[in-house]
């Protein structure tokens, strides 16, 4: 026995009555031809019929002639199992119980709509067995598309005694009903209104006890089919307290693994309800939301992981996202969060504090895919309510690296969303309250907005956990990334069009053969900087004055730190950060810092053989990145201090090996060669050689950073590099060197470099280069020192560096 969507006949809506007359033509099929029976007005009529004591209702389609209202053209009872077809927009066609084919052709589609709606109502309330089908020609014009609009829908049996047959039928029914929206919706309504799911769960317990394998697999397939309906209410119904265990139990049986049973219930019983409460959660509604969230994730990730298609998966994700938003919203309004934060300002035992960190980490993790505005709101609340106390605890008192990792992860999530959020709120807070000063190092000198950077730097230099170190580096890079500052402070992404000016790191823009142009441009642009730009500038300046000297201390020769004592992996991280600030930060500031502190000299030493190869190559890459900036000052500094020497020592040792060291250095040489080509343009062009002006132009171009570097490299290490002549770009390096020499000689231009033959000693050579460099600086100074004070001081710095 199966039930249908029969509703109580007496339950007819009061408003359900005769329809407005609509103009229509009536046709009847006679001898295979449609005969026009006249034009009139069609109404749907409801009549009460007395049958003995009972009054029942009947429905009719009536058409009265437009010529004579009293003449009835058609009076057809809506009854039995008549199938009405709505063809396209204006036609209703059916065969009545006497076998007559009748068609109503409406003047307007709106008239057809009215009568179709009438038929639908009749199907719902009076004659359940009739149906209305919509027939439309398909998009490609071939054939037609049938869609049920109303009609009897067969539904699964709600008999209390389920058995293999009823289940089999039910499976067939839910499968078939999923094809048409109408039937699907009726089925969904049925599932939600009846207690069919409970019925299945009851039978499941019997079937499991009685080892009725067939029934178990049928139940599982029925539930899965219902999940494929992809209907939010059904999915939510399945994961509520009443149904979850039954549903998960049923899903432990899977036809894909006929000999196995999963143990989802056992897992949920042991771990699921064992939600840890750091402090008692009083809001029971929220408890259910959190549990639903957990259960849906469990269904998605574990129980149904091989089953859900992309569509289902999206539905699950949508529901999960809604629940998350709800949870995060609640956290901010309820005093719960205050209580959690309070744990850190009391003497509660450390295990409670640890759990509180884990809890906060969980909720911040949960917030990751929320709407950006919701995220900003949540993070601001967190910071306002005292997130810093939590961090302070995690980084100064807590010794367990794992918890520090969670705390760092939490910060990263927040700063990746908005790097200024923490320090802005911190600034606003410090105006009224002093924050406890547990942080190393010498916190007197560190302003509050630098506190986070300071903490992270301290951890990087002191904590030995490799995972934590990597995370901290990520956090530092995020905090120090100029692009990150694009995110506004109010949770909306403001578009600061001139923001890049403060960074001046646009390599392409600033470094076409004369490295300084771009920088001056960016300074010009700085003149109309916005308030936000100013703040950023201050922020980065503070970093270089307060944090960088501490963070990069191990790399400063002055500090007299024996690098061999330091962890090579720490040095790798520091080198990556140097690479980062050199390439991403305002050139003026980062270069000043790097050169003034002799950091490149340490870098050069790190390429030496006492260190692990990973570090040595990281140092080579750092040079590569800096050389690639095509910055006159860096290039001259590196050449005059012979800083690339160790690179070629390393190359010499690996010359006949095929390994990452050779690849890494080959890549560096390729960059040099490539930049010579790019910058010197027509140097290879034979025609250019015959024309003196062209030649001098070439030479001018030839005197760029890379041709000078090329000369330096070929002059000093030509014999090593020659071994690599199988690479075309190596041969080009020699060719560039030859052409440069040739042009210079021909033009009889006396340069210091020219006077040194390749056989001269290294010292002479480098002196000469230094001399050459000095000259180029003074040139620059006289031609360009009309610029701002800041620039003059920078030139002084550079001179100081070069001559020292």
């Amino acid at each position: 026995m199966t039930s249908t969507n029969t509703n109580n006949q007496n339950n007819v809506d009061e408003s359900f009555s005769n329809t407005e007359p609509k103009r229509v033509k009536v046709y009847v099929l006679e001898n295979n031809e449609w005969k026009d029976n006249g034009t009139g007005f069609c109404t749907g009529e409801i009549r009460d019929v007395e049958e003995g004591d009972e009054i029942t209702k009947s429905a009719y389609l009536v058409v009265s002639s437009e010529d004579d209202q009293k003449e009835t053209l058609l009076r057809s009872k809506v009854e039995g199992n008549i199938e009405y077809q709505r063809q396209e927009e204006t036609l209703i066609v059916w065969k009545d119980l006497n076998g007559n084919d009748i068609a109503l052709s409406f003047e307007e589609s709106i008239g057809c709509d009215t009568l179709c709606e009438f038929i639908i109502q009749v199907q719902r309330h009076i004659e359940n067995s009739i149906s209305l089908i919509s027939v439309k020609s398909s998009d490609n014009g071939i054939g037609s598309v049938h869609e049920i609009v109303a009609g009897p829908v067969i539904l699964p049996s709600t008999d209390k005694d389920q058995n293999t047959d009823t289940l089999y039928d039910a499976l067939k029914i839910v499968n078939e009903n999923s094809i048409y929206d109408y039937m699907k919706n009726e089925t969904i309504e049925f599932i939600l209104q009846s207690s069919y799911i409970n019925l299945l769960i009851d039978h499941f317990h019997r079937a499991e006890k009685g080892k009725m394998i067939k029934d178990l697999f049928l139940l599982s397939t029925i539930i899965k089919t219902l999940i494929l309906y992809n209907q939010r209410d059904i999915i939510e119904l399945m994961v509520d307290d009443e149904h979850i265990m039954g549903i998960i139990g049923i899903l432990e049986y899977d036809t894909e693994f006929p000999n196995l049973k999963a143990n989802h219930r056992e897992y949920l019983k042991l771990n699921g309800p064992c939600f840890k409460e750091v402090i008692p959660l009083e809001n029971k509604d929220l408890e259910l939301v959190v549990k639903k969230y957990f259960r849906l994730k469990f269904l998605k990730d574990v129980v149904l992981v091989r089953f859900l298609d992309d569509n289902n998966l999206n539905s699950f994700m949508d529901i999960i996202l809604d629940l998350k938003t709800c949870i995060i919203d609640w956290l901010q309004t309820d005093p719960f969060l205050d209580k959690i934060m309070n744990i850190f300002s009391t003497d509660d035992d450390s295990s409670k504090k640890r759990d509180a960190i884990r809890l906060l980490h969980q909720y911040v993790g949960m917030s990751k895919d929320l709407d950006p505005i919701d995220k900003t709101k949540f993070y601001r609340t967190l910071v306002r309510k005292g997130l810093f106390n939590v961090l302070s605890y995690a980084f100064s008192q807590e010794k367990d690296s794992n918890l520090r990792i969670l705390a760092t992860d939490l910060i990263i999530t927040i700063i990746e969303h908005d790097i200024l959020l923490i320090h802005n709120i911190q600034n606003e807070k410090t105006k009224d309250t002093a924050i406890d000063d547990n942080f190393p190092p010498a916190s007197d000198a560190i302003t509050d907005d630098m506190k986070l950077l300071s903490i992270l730097s301290t951890i990087l230099l002191s904590d030995k956990s490799p995972g934590l170190m990597e995370q901290v580096v990520q956090a530092l890079s995020t905090l120090l990334h100029p692009d990150g500052c694009l995110a506004g402070t109010d949770g909306e992404f403001s578009n600061f069009s001139s923001i890049s000016s403060i960074n001046g790191f646009d390599v392409n823009d600033s470094d076409n053969s004369y490295g300084m142009d771009g920088i001056f441009n960016s300074i010009d642009r700085d003149n109309n900087e916005t308030e936000a730009n100013k703040q950023l500038k201050i922020y980065f300046n503070k970093f270089y004055s307060q944090i960088a000297p501490f963070l990069f201390k191990p790399l400063m020769p002055k500090a007299n730190i024996d690098c061999s004592e330091l962890d090579d992996f720490l040095l790798i991280h520091l080198l990556k950060l140097i690479s980062f600030i050199a390439t991403e930060h305002t050139r003026l500031i980062s270069r000043k810092f790097i050169l003034e502190n002799g950091i490149l000299k340490t870098l050069s030493q790190l390429i030496g053989p006492t260190h692990i190869l990973q570090l040595r190559l990281t140092a080579v890459r750092c040079f590569k990145n800096i050389l690639n900036l095509n910055d006159k000052y860096y290039h001259r500094y590196i050449i005059s201090n012979n800083l690339v020497d160790p690179i070629f020592e390393l190359l010499k040792d690996n010359l006949f090996e095929d390994n990452l060291a050779t690849s890494c250095i080959l890549d560096l040489l390729n960059i040099v060669s490539l930049n010579c080509t790019l910058d010197s343009g027509k140097e290879n062009d034979q025609n250019a050689k015959h024309n003196l002006t062209e030649k001098s132009k070439s030479l001018n171009k030839a005197k760029n950073n890379f041709t000078i570097l090329n000369k330096h490299i070929i002059g000093k290490y030509g014999s090593i590099i020659k071994e690599l002549s199988s690479f075309p770009f190596i041969r080009e390096m020699f060719e560039f060197d030859r052409i440069t020499n040739e042009i210079e000689k021909e033009l009889d231009i006396e340069t210091d470099i020219d006077r040194i033959s390749p056989n001269d000693t290294d010292t002479n050579k480098s002196d000469a280069t230094t001399e050459n460099c000095k000259r180029s600086y003074s040139e620059l100074e006289t031609s360009e020192n009309s610029n701002s004070n800041e620039d003059v001081s920078k030139f002084e710095l550079d001179q100081h560096v070069v001559t020292s």
Binding site: L260, N271, D301, D667, F727
Partner: protein, 307 residues
């Protein structure tokens, strides 16, 4: 010995401590850093395609193809993502590499990157198994050290994706500093992302990275470098392998019933000393735990939960 124990645990899909994973990753770095971007391998050797975290099928692969004790292997990348045991699969291969350095060559696939693994499962898997991302970070660092290709007896070129318009000779690959996240364009990207197709010139790839290349490009590359075959993976083949361009290129796919639902078989390609090609086809099997009980592969549920 410690390593043997680790291998056993991994085969059973058991949890390793973060420290242990770090050690494995560090040792692997040290080995991989000595390898060229294109490593040279001798016959006989068995070439394997995508694995995608299907640990139990990887174990079958070893079983059906002789095992690492007796056989030399080249893996063409895509060890992680999609399947539920990315971590164990990748670490097992690394352990074998440490244990038998000359028997296992690992080539980087397009899934061996930070960006891709964050989206396609490996990152989430580690987060579920460890509650933090450390182990994922260690593995990603190893990804950066993996070779980009291999050459068998100077005659067969192995790569994950395919050819690049920027690479006409093997020498050009050697000058790439491969220790980096896979870029979005250029030779390194193409080698990991390109696909062969019925095209008459380099064409845009629907994947949004790498190129489509046809028989002309393959012929030219083989001729220039004196090769007879390009062995690559990267694309699901229902039959496990597919030769194209008069046998000048083969796609090898080694993840049976891909994503636990595609219904495909898997293959490995054995190259003998005469450079003859022998394909071994295998099917997905019912996974087992360490003591022989059948298990249903699934993701590990998240650990603690806080209210």
């Amino acid at each position: 010995m410690e390593l043997e124990k680790t291998i056993r645990l991994l085969k059973e899909g058991k949890h390793l401590s973060e420290e242990r994973v770090y050690d494995i990753c560090l040792k692997s770095q040290e080995l991989l850093i000595t390898e060229g971007n294109v490593t040279h391998v001798d016959t006989p050797v068995t070439i394997c395609g995508d694995i995608h975290g299907q640990l139990h099928d990887l174990l079958t692969l070893f079983e059906k193809s002789g095992g690492v004790e007796k056989t030399r292997y080249v893996f063409l990348g895509d060890f992680v993502d999609r399947g539920f045991y990315s971590l164990e699969s990748f670490l097992l291969l690394l352990c074998y590499k440490i244990r038998y350095p000359d028997r296992i060559t690992l080539i980087r696939g397009n899934h061996e990157t930070r960006q891709i693994t964050k989206v396609y499962g490996f990152y989430d898997e580690v987060m579920r198994k460890y509650g933090n991302s450390n182990v994922w970070r260690y593995c990603c660092e190893v990804f950066d050290y993996l070779s980009l290709g291999a050459i068998i007896n100077n005659r067969i070129f192995c790569v994950h994706g395919g050819l690049s318009p920027d690479v006409s000779t093997i020498n050009e690959i050697k000058a790439i500093d491969r220790k980096q996240e896979v870029p979005h364009e250029g030779a390194m990207c193409d080698l990991l992302w390109s696909d062969p197709d019925d095209v008459d010139k380099w064409s845009l790839s629907p994947r949004g990275a790498g190129f489509l290349f046809g028989s002309n490009e393959v012929e030219e590359f083989l001729h220039t470098n004196g090769f007879e075959l390009i062995a690559r993976a990267h694309q699901l083949v229902m039959e496990g392998y597919k030769e194209m361009f008069d046998g000048g290129l083969v796609t090898v796919w080694s993840a049976p019933n891909y994503c636990y639902r595609c219904g495909n078989v898997a293959a490995v390609l054995k190259i003998d000393d005469q450079l003859e090609r022998n394909y071994t086809i295998f099917d997905a099997v019912q996974p087992q735990d360490g003591v022989g009980n059948a298990i249903i592969p699934t993701k590990q549920p998240q650990m603690d939960y806080f209210l």
